[in-house]
């Protein structure tokens, strides 16, 4: 890992620690914009920090660690898609988006259909699910499940319905978006045909990596917090951290989180500029699957190790658990990951 990236990670960590755990969107989104975190992956000629996708994942990890509410993940998917897509005024768009004009994106598989009506107009129908902070976004990035099209769709227009879907995870603000015969603006189409299929694949892979990074950060922070609690809490006249039964469980969790982190960093290192390829897709699925299972395992164990206090709403234990559980169901269909990974070997 290069020094710039380490420094970036440290500074992001520092800023987010000052804001405390699970800081709201109103606090964390302005930081994301003002501190230039949206620029992290961009090349210098676009005013970027040139840290590439690993740089973005370092920030995803830190946001996961602090349970930040800022919708950085969909924003970064949209910025990357705009950079890769064929918009006429692409650079102006990039500038708009990196200075805070927020475009969101679905974090789960959606059922959205593009059809060409008799009039020659392209219409969007269907439902996009798990779209973060849609009420604050100007557009949504849609990769049509049918119709081979990736496009930006303005949200404040007739035919687009925002349905707020409160989740147990209070650090996310998710919406369903229902589209009824929404006309697509040709000027906002990023890709069509095979280019759209490739762009969709890249976005899905990036989403897998980003969610994995969130999990790695969350799992590691939660384990630290749990160990600290066991050091402090005394029963039977000794700190709980002295009991070998508890130490060994923490050691296992440390091994799991280290493994997920190693796989994430190793895979990011191997990506190079091949993020559109089948190997990148395989690595994304693999690290997402492992990181989610590790985060869930750590969260389940952390609650048990905290005992009663972990069941109270004022203790942050449950915030990690709920984010871990939600993360497992974002991205592709939860069970499909392992099956896809196995298919790579069996088929």
């Amino acid at each position: 890992m290069n020094t710039d990236l380490n420094e970036l990670r440290d500074s992001v960590h520092q800023v987010l620690s000052e804001g405390g755990l699970a800081a709201g969107e109103d606090k964390t989104w302005p930081l994301v914009v003002e501190l230039g975190w949206l620029l992290v992956a961009l090349p210098e000629k676009l005013g970027g920090l040139e840290q590439g996708f690993p740089g973005a994942c370092a920030i995803h990890t830190e946001l996961g660690r602090s349970l930040a509410a800022a919708p950085y993940l969909p924003a970064m998917l949209a910025i990357d898609a705009v950079c890769r897509g064929g918009l006429a005024d692409r650079e102006a768009w990039v500038e708009r988006l990196t200075s805070g004009d927020f475009i969101t994106a679905p974090l789960a598989e959606s059922a959205t259909f593009i059809t060409r009506a008799g009039s020659g107009k392209t219409k969007l129908n269907g439902l996009a699910t798990a779209v973060p902070s849609a009420s604050k976004a100007s557009h949504v990035l849609i990769c049509a499940s049918e119709g081979d099209c990736v496009a930006l769709v303005p949200l404040g227009q007739p035919g687009v319905e925002l349905i707020r879907r409160p989740t147990w995870d209070a650090t996310r603000c998710l919406f369903d978006l229902r589209f009824a015969d929404v006309s697509l603006d040709d000027k906002l189409v990023l890709a069509r045909g095979s280019a759209a299929r490739e762009l969709s694949r890249i976005i899905s892979t990036e989403r897998d990596f980003a969610l994995a990074a969130d999990c790695v950060g969350g799992a590691s922070a939660l384990l630290d917090m749990t160990v600290e609690y066991l050091q402090t809490r005394r029963q039977f006249g000794r700190p709980l951290a002295l009991f070998q039964a508890l130490k060994h469980r923490c050691a296992d969790l440390k091994a799991f989180t280290s493994a997920a982190e190693a796989l994430l960093l190793d895979s990011l290192g191997r990506l190079g500029d091949q993020i559109g390829g089948p190997e990148a897709e395989r690595m994304g699925k693999t690290v997402k699957s492992l990181a989610c299972s590790v985060y869930s395992k750590v969260a389940e164990e952390a609650l048990q190790l905290h005992g009663g206090i972990g069941m109270t709403s004022e203790h942050p234990c449950h915030l990690f658990l709920k984010r871990a559980l939600l993360n497992a169901h974002l991205g592709r269909r939860c069970d499909s990951y392992e099956l896809d990974i196995a298919a790579g070997l069996l088929n």
Partner: protein, 401 residues
């Protein structure tokens, strides 16, 4: 051997050498064979590697293929795994434990006496563990009593890999009382032909006997064969144990990844390739195997850059041993009843040979030997997570009387 300009050139050089030199059909030849034939095959393979300079890349310059950086050694190990070459079990202690201990602690005379012998095929074994000193190595009780210019050894060692074929032994004995117990230990280089010494192979649950016990009845070791000072044995032993520097786990995790198709083949063979539950399990296993590889890889990179923290190695070993257990258990389960019928096993074939019952049983080697999983968990908790050590003093109520 000249140093290669690029890592990629070295990789290609090793790869093409292995393609030409790994004995064809060695797996079949080593399946169901006796141990003597295995030892002969190991010797042949060892001499080939020595000649090519791939047995001692970690030795200093001047030795065959020596002076390689850790990064270059890693490439050699990765290629050995990729080529599915035989594991060099018989010579591991000689090439790593004995050689590295001699390089670090040995006198000039000792280096001149022992190192060339290793390249000529001297087999070394390790005499550390005892019946009552396993995970708790400092409680070694085998006595070494200095009488004039020799130590007289009495006691018993155990779990000594291939000791029945060894020429020499790295021996840790107690020469004095001390608190803490690490203090009274002394490290000796023992000739296995010494009078009063007997070796008894241990019959393992797999039917193999790759370990042995060593018994000492007034065995004499000359003072010149002591390495380090008297009482310095614990520090010397730490060098021995640190000598393989993470390379073994790079090799083993890579071998585990290259063995995944064996599970796929087994699923097809048993008509289970379309079973969604098994496919899901395989998918989860693949992710863990990939993570084990990434852990071992990144651990070695940390060592190369000098950023290793105490306890890091324990994470790699613990994760590997758990993943290996799951791997072999899955193989055994898919095998069904077929897996319960006794079949010949492959010597030197690594941890995932496809004889899943034997592989499963052998996986316990990795969770018990070299610091058990429980010891690794203690180290991770205490060194990395900074949880407190348990108090040293304890007493059961029944002990008080």
């Amino acid at each position: 051997m000249s140093s290669d300009p690029t890592p990629e050139a070295l990789r290609m050089e090793v790869r093409s050498w292995l393609e030409q030199n790994v004995p064809a059909g060695w797996r079949a030849a080593m399946t169901g064979t006796d141990q003597e034939a295995f030892v002969r095959a190991q010797r042949d393979w060892f001499f080939k590697l020595v000649q090519a300079g791939y047995a001692t890349p970690h030795w200093p310059q001047g030795w065959p293929g020596g002076g390689r950086s850790l990064a270059e050694q890693k490439i050699i190990y990765e290629e050995v795994a990729r080529a599915d070459a035989p594991r060099l079990i018989l010579y591991f202690v000689a090439l790593y434990h004995a050689a590295c201990t001699l390089m670090e602690w040995g006198s000039t005379e000792q280096k001149e006496k022992y190192l060339p012998g290793i390249l000529k095929g001297d087999v070394w074994c390790q005499g550390f563990s005892e019946p009552n000193a396993g995970s708790d190595l400092a409680s070694v009780k085998t006595r070494g009593e200095l009488r004039g210019d020799r130590y007289v050894i009495n006691g018993q060692k155990t779990w000594s890999t291939m000791a029945q074929y060894a020429d020499r032994c790295l021996l840790l004995v107690r020469t004095g009382k001390s608190e803490p117990p690490q203090g009274g230990l002394t490290y000796l280089l023992l000739d296995m032909r010494s009078k009063g010494l007997s070796v008894r192979p241990i019959a393992q649950i797999t039917g193999d006997d790759e370990f042995a016990e060593i018994f000492f009845d007034d065995v004499e070791v000359p003072v010149e064969a002591r390495i380090g000072q008297e009482g310095e044995g614990w520090a010397v032993a730490q060098s021995t144990l640190a000598s393989e520097r993470g390379l073994t786990l790079v090799e083993l995790t890579q071998r585990m990844r290259y063995s995944l198709p064996r599970i796929a083949a087994l699923m097809r063979e048993r008509g289970r390739a379309e079973d969604p539950a098994l496919r899901g399990e395989l998918g989860r296993l693949i992710a863990k195997v990939d993570a084990a590889c990434a852990l071992a890889d990144r651990y070695l990179l940390k060592r190369i850059s000098g950023e290793e923290a105490p306890g890091d190695a324990s994470i790699v070993k613990l994760y590997y041993s758990r993943t290996l257990r799951e791997f072999t258990a899955l193989g055994l389960r898919i095998s069904g009843l077929q897996g319960q019928y006794r079949e010949d096993f492959t010597r030197g074939g690594g941890q995932e040979t496809g004889n899943w019952a034997v592989d499963f049983m052998n996986s316990y080697n990795w969770s018990i030997a070299g610091g058990s999983d429980e010891i690794q968990r203690n180290i991770i908790a205490e060194r990395l997570l900074r949880m407190p050590r348990e108090p040293k003093n304890w007493q059961l109520p029944s002990d008080r009387s």
